[in-house]
């Protein structure tokens, strides 16, 4: 049996603070254009009938 897939932890204390600061930072910054990759992914899924 392969290594078990761990469940995602609930962050607390400093780790939670750091994580939530990063979340806020991302919400306030401009986003990277990923539309080309989304188009490619759609083509792959169409090709595979998904």
């Amino acid at each position: 049996m392969a290594l078990e897939i761990k469940s995602t932890p609930v962050l607390k204390g400093k780790n939670a603070e750091r994580f939530l600061e990063k979340v806020k930072e991302v919400e306030e910054t401009s986003k990277k254009d990923f539309s080309k990759q989304v188009d490619i992914a759609r083509k792959i899924l169409r090709k595979s009938n998904r």
């Binding site: 962050l11 994580f19 090709k47």
Partner: protein, 198 residues
């Protein structure tokens, strides 16, 4: 061998592959190979995680890369600044738990025959694009991964802009109740999909 998973491959669920195709897959990691060959179908049928693969268009027995995903969430306890100031020893701290929808990459592997040519990054871009696509039926803010704690695996996720959930190995060990001298086999990492725009 240099290939493009977009131009040279197709995408399918693990249940569409023969046992031969699965047993031929070798990503150079015994645990990962074992998972894809023996456990992934069980995970899929018990709805614990779905495994997908890219295979060569001209040879369905030739799997280029595989990954397993399941629904997840990232939770963090927050103590708002206003409360931090008011808190005293008598009244217990009232915490607010924030929860964000996420997808967990339980396993990911690239065949040794195709590693080192950007296939891993193409695959990660595909996964990111798949989940930020407005056509995606559910909201998903983060990709979370339980990455093998090896130089190669950690470098791969860092290159693809993942961050550690715990700042240090010591903190992660403490959370998992692993003794300080114990081995941390995997590390939790995440990517914020809100950084991208479809």
């Amino acid at each position: 061998m240099s290939i493009s998973i977009y131009d040279d491959c197709s995408f399918a669920s693990i249940k569409d592959f023969t046992n031969t195709a699965l047993s031929n897959f070798d990503c150079g990691n015994i645990d990962l190979n074992e998972f894809f060959q023996e456990d992934a179908i069980k995970y899929s049928s018990s709805l614990m995680g779905k495994t997908y693969a890219f295979f060569l268009d001209n040879d369905k027995e030739n799997i280029v890369c595989m990954f397993t995903v399941s629904n997840d969430s990232l939770k963090a306890d927050d103590l708002p600044n206003s409360r931090k100031k008011k808190v005293n020893k008598v009244i217990p701290r009232i915490k607010q738990r924030k929860s964000y929808p996420a997808v967990l990459i339980g396993r990911l592997g690239v065949s040794l025959s195709y590693s080192g040519d950007g296939v891993g990054t193409q695959l990660m871009d595909f996964i990111k694009a798949w989940f930020i696509d407005p056509l995606n039926k559910t909201g998903c803010r983060f990709i979370v991964v339980d990455a093998y704690n090896t130089d190669d695996a950690i470098k791969y996720y860092e290159k693809n802009e993942f961050s550690f959930l715990f700042s240090t190995e010591e903190q992660e060990k403490e959370y998992l109740n692993i003794e300080p001298e114990g081995e941390l086999k995997t590390r939790m990492m995440y990517f914020d999909l809100l950084r991208l725009e479809a």
